[in-house]
């Protein structure tokens, strides 16, 4: 068990180091001069040179890389020159909104994928399977940001059921007292049901949009896993013991199929962070993703680059956690190592 975890940790560390190297290379080795980018095309050469020295760009690449990693690990992520604030505080302000959106989307995606996967694999009617297969293909084929726009057109403009792209709360609704930074949770903590309902109404469409791709991905994976497990001999043996199709499905097929599906949830997290950049723009959701698009449009790239490297690190850590978790749960891995 411990050996498995250590080996996995080593792989994660090299991957993170490689990711940092890659991010560093795109930043420094490309033709663009970061100092020139900050100051603009009309700045004097002296000003650019001064800034280069200030940013440490005149030092050798190896030294720069070591500084880059040290800065990243200590949370010194530089300064946004367009907004005049440290990147870290900018992101910290915006992350709760992204986390709230992401969590909600994740819950919707996983719950719906598990439900639809089980129905699709268990049902024996053709039209049900065909419907769900179409839904799965649609979810992974549709451009997320466009789908969000369609949801807004239908849910807000045509039916008037949902609020427009105005962010996390309606106009004039004050945010609840901040505890977690998640408006829905904070509103509940404050016992303010009206604010809670308003936050939910604003959250639903963007969360469905953001969850769509992970939903389709997990659905296909889970479904395939369920179908695979259904062909295992222990299912036949279970049936021969007098268990009904449903009992065998619930007791043996689903638990065996869920383990490899959950392993993929780390992958989904990466999709969510990337998706939030596109989806937050559509809904004017004031999260970190919207900050990234804003940074791109204003050519203020320090926020963008930090977010990108952070997303890689988050992805690596999440996958590490999932693997360790699976190793701890799966009796074959957990016991083998303690015995040997």
């Amino acid at each position: 068990m411990i050996r498995t975890v250590l080996a996995r940790l080593g792989l994660s560390l090299t991957a993170a180091l490689g990711a940092a190297l890659f991010a560093f290379l795109t930043l420094r080795v490309g033709p663009g001069d970061p100092a020139r980018l900050v100051l603009g095309a009309f700045a004097s050469d002296e000003a650019v040179a001064a800034l280069r020295a200030e940013m440490g760009l005149d030092k050798p690449y190896v030294v720069q890389f070591v500084h880059y990693i040290a800065d990243f690990v200590t949370g010194d992520w530089g300064k946004s020159y367009a907004m005049g604030e440290p990147v870290r505080s900018l992101l910290a302000d915006r992350f709760p909104a992204t986390i709230e959106l992401g969590l909600c989307a994740f819950v919707i995606a996983v719950a719906m994928a598990l439900l639809c996967g089980m129905v699709g694999s268990y049902a024996r009617r053709d039209w049900i399977t065909r419907l769900l297969r179409t839904l799965a293909s649609f979810s992974i084929g549709v451009p997320q940001f466009w789908f969000g726009l369609i949801l807004l057109m239908v849910g807000f403009e045509c039916l008037g059921l949902f609020p427009g792209p105005v962010g996390r709360l309606g106009f004039g609704v004050p945010p609840p007292p901040s505890v977690t930074g998640l408006y829905t949770v904070d509103a509940l903590l404050a016992g303010d049901l009206a604010t809670f309902a308003d936050a939910c109404r604003h959250l639903l469409l963007p969360a469905v949009t953001l969850g769509l791709l992970p939903f389709g991905f997990l659905l296909r994976l889970f479904w395939a896993n369920l179908d695979d497990v259904a062909n295992e001999p222990f299912v036949l043996v279970g049936r021969s013991r007098g268990m009904t199709r449903w009992q065998v499905f619930r007791r043996y097929v689903v638990p065996n199929a869920i383990v490899p599906t959950l392993t993929a949830s780390g992958l989904v997290l990466g999709q969510m962070l990337a998706g939030s950049v596109l989806v937050e723009r559509v809904f004017n959701w004031p999260g970190a993703g919207a900050l990234v698009t804003q940074g791109i449009l204003q050519q203020d790239y320090s926020v963008v680059q930090t977010f990108i490297l952070l997303s890689a690190v988050v992805y690596i850590v999440a996958n590490l956690c999932v693997d360790v978790l699976v190793a701890a749960i799966d009796p074959r891995i957990a016991r083998k190592d303690t015995a040997g």
Partner: protein, 328 residues
């Protein structure tokens, strides 16, 4: 015959127009032990699963199967669930694949016991499970209920599989190649165990195998399947002494023997034709030492008829066979 436990009449199974079992008739009395023998693809596993009602959805089944006097509700999965486990038990060939890897052996046993007896308490079920494991000679059985399948050897798992098949006290056990995946010593042990349990419980057994040695040690009757057809139904003793059907003889000759000099293994020439591919004649004709090229064998399907000694054989040349065999 009165008091049959199992009566199969004109059972046919096909998959998408491909007939894998063709008009099977078979009877089994309580406590009987029938060896069901054939090459891979002869339809022997399909016959076992058909009795259990566990063929895949795409299979189309015709004919009747009567169990303990009543026709089995083949098309009704719910009604069949009540028969499976409680009346008919099943042992699968691959003990490793027969257990869900993430559930303890105790969970498997509990599921099997609860399926046969839904109202049983958790504690009583656990006691039953431990008793069943003890019956199949698992030492320290109560403690080992909490172990996972990968912590057992293949032979132990196969014994546990037998124990879970016994959970509902079935009158008939269908064992599909129960010893194929095991090494020779373990094989002998599992067979001996199965023998003891079946005798003690008066339980009938259908042993599906391709190994005539196993049949000889364990069974009273022998049914031979070839290409979805039942070609011979005799007692094991008579089949061993004087195999009437040329295919049975071929199978017997192909057995490796310890009492002979290890010459080349004898084989039956040719390959098993695709199920349903046979034309009008005997399916075995192209490979048959006696009938190859004989007009009647090539053109007419032989019927399963009783001969003088009471055995049933489907062969045009079965009468002539003994003389021919003697002259070889």
């Amino acid at each position: 015959m009165t008091g049959s436990l199992l009566e199969i009449e004109r059972l046919s199974v096909s998959f998408g127009g491909l007939r894998v079992l063709d008009d099977i008739d078979l009877k089994l009395a309580p406590g009987d032990r029938l060896g069901l023998v054939g090459e891979s693809g002869s339809g022997k596993s399909t016959l076992g699963l058909a009795i259990l009602g566990l063929l895949v959805d795409t299979a189309s089944v015709s004919g009747t199967i009567r169990f303990a006097g009543a026709a089995l509700p083949i098309g009704d999965d719910r009604a069949m669930s009540a028969i499976r486990g409680g009346r008919i038990g099943f042992v699968y060939q691959d003990p490793m694949g027969g257990f869900s890897p993430i559930h303890t052996v105790g969970r498997h046993m509990h599921h099997a016991i609860a399926a046969a007896e839904p109202d049983i308490s958790r504690r009583a079920a656990r006691e039953r499970a431990a008793a069943l494991l003890a019956e199949v000679e698992i030492r320290d059985s109560a403690a080992r209920l909490d172990d996972y399948p990968h912590q057992f050897s293949g032979g132990m798992l196969q014994r546990i599989m037998i124990a879970s098949a016994l959970a509902g006290n079935p009158q008939l056990l269908i064992a599909d190649e129960p010893t194929t995946a095991l090494d020779a010593t373990t094989q002998a042990n599992v067979l001996r165990l199965l023998d003891r349990i079946a005798s003690a419980r008066g339980m009938a057994v259908i042993l599906i195998t391709h190994d005539l040695g196993v049949v000889g040690r364990f069974c009273g009757d022998l049914a031979v399947l070839y290409c979805g057809n039942l070609v011979s139904l005799t007692t094991v003793a008579r089949a061993m002494a004087n195999p009437v059907h040329p295919y049975t003889r071929g199978l017997l000759d192909a057995r490796p023997r310890l009492d002979e000099k290890p010459a080349r293994l004898r084989t039956i020439g040719g390959v098993l034709p695709r199920a349903g591919a046979a034309g009008g004649g005997c399916a075995f004709e192209p490979r048959c030492a006696l009938g190859r090229g004989v007009a009647i064998c090539r053109n007419e399907r032989p019927l399963l008829l009783a001969n003088r000694s009471g055995d049933r054989v489907a062969c045009h040349l079965a009468g002539a066979e003994s003389e021919v065999a003697a002259s070889c």
